[in-house]
């Protein structure tokens, strides 16, 4: 794999202009792939360790899914606001939660352009 595609979550957040809301301890994780879905079971089945998950779901259960499937982190898209409970849980699990105003489609496109495949 092209070395330039090996970005950490921190670098992805900077390049895409995403705001880090929680899980700062996990920002050094390398992003090796991505998933875009709002169905939790789909992400459970298809998610691979190191995937970044783009979703518009915001409730605390997304943190459990990310932690159990060993995802690198979560991007909450389209300006949706993960509440305090979700962010607290993200900090507990060291799961980075990033937020962005752009749609899931656009964020996915930009991830792809960055070389995340």
């Amino acid at each position: 794999m092209d070395e330039r595609t090996q970005r950490t979550i921190r670098e992805v957040a900077e390049e895409l202009g995403l705001t880090v809301m929680a899980g700062k301890e996990g920002l050094g994780q390398v992003v090796t792939g991505a998933q875009v879905s709002d169905l939790l079971s789909y992400v459970m089945a298809q998610g691979r360790a190191g995937d970044l998950w783009v979703t518009i779901q915001t409730h605390p259960n997304i943190i459990a899914v990310a932690a159990l499937a060993r995802l690198a982190g979560i991007v909450v898209a389209a300006g949706f606001d993960p509440g305090e409970e979700t962010l607290d849980r993200a900090d507990e699990e060291n799961t980075p939660v990033l937020v962005g105003e752009e749609s899931a489609f656009r964020i996915a496109g930009r991830l792809y352009e960055l070389g995340v495949r």
């Binding site: 079971s41 979703t55 779901q57 699990e93």
Partner: protein, 155 residues
Amino acid sequence: MDEEPLAHYEFPILGRAYFLGGRASTSVKRCLTEAGVDEETIQRVSVACYEAEMNVVLHARSGYVAVSVYEDRIVVAVVDQGPGIEDIELAMKPGWSSASEEARSLGFGAGMGLPNIREQADEMRIESTVGQGVQLVITFRRPGRPSQRGERRDG
């Protein structure tokens, strides 16, 4: 089978508490990590356990998950008190779900839970009495360990 597990853990699951869902599975994952189980097996158990836990949360009043670690396998039992499953064959069909609209709007109830569990497990047994609840027993073989079943272990 009178074989004693090397370790045993139990965690309660609260029905309808969508946002607490995943807590029990996260605890299971932590315990298996501490017990020195390999990562791949933990991953499989975690995914199956989460799906089973969410089934309890979405459909039942309450339940628990019990995990037994054996030398060669991990056995997860998820037992609930609730409406039970009328037609298990139908419930096993990918995409079929009886989850509420509310649950679906939160991204649950995709009808992938039981199929996901079957995908991860080496063995899966599901029993249900309508009006009482569901008993799900899932077995995961640990890689590189010969089967201990039916053999007596020296104490």
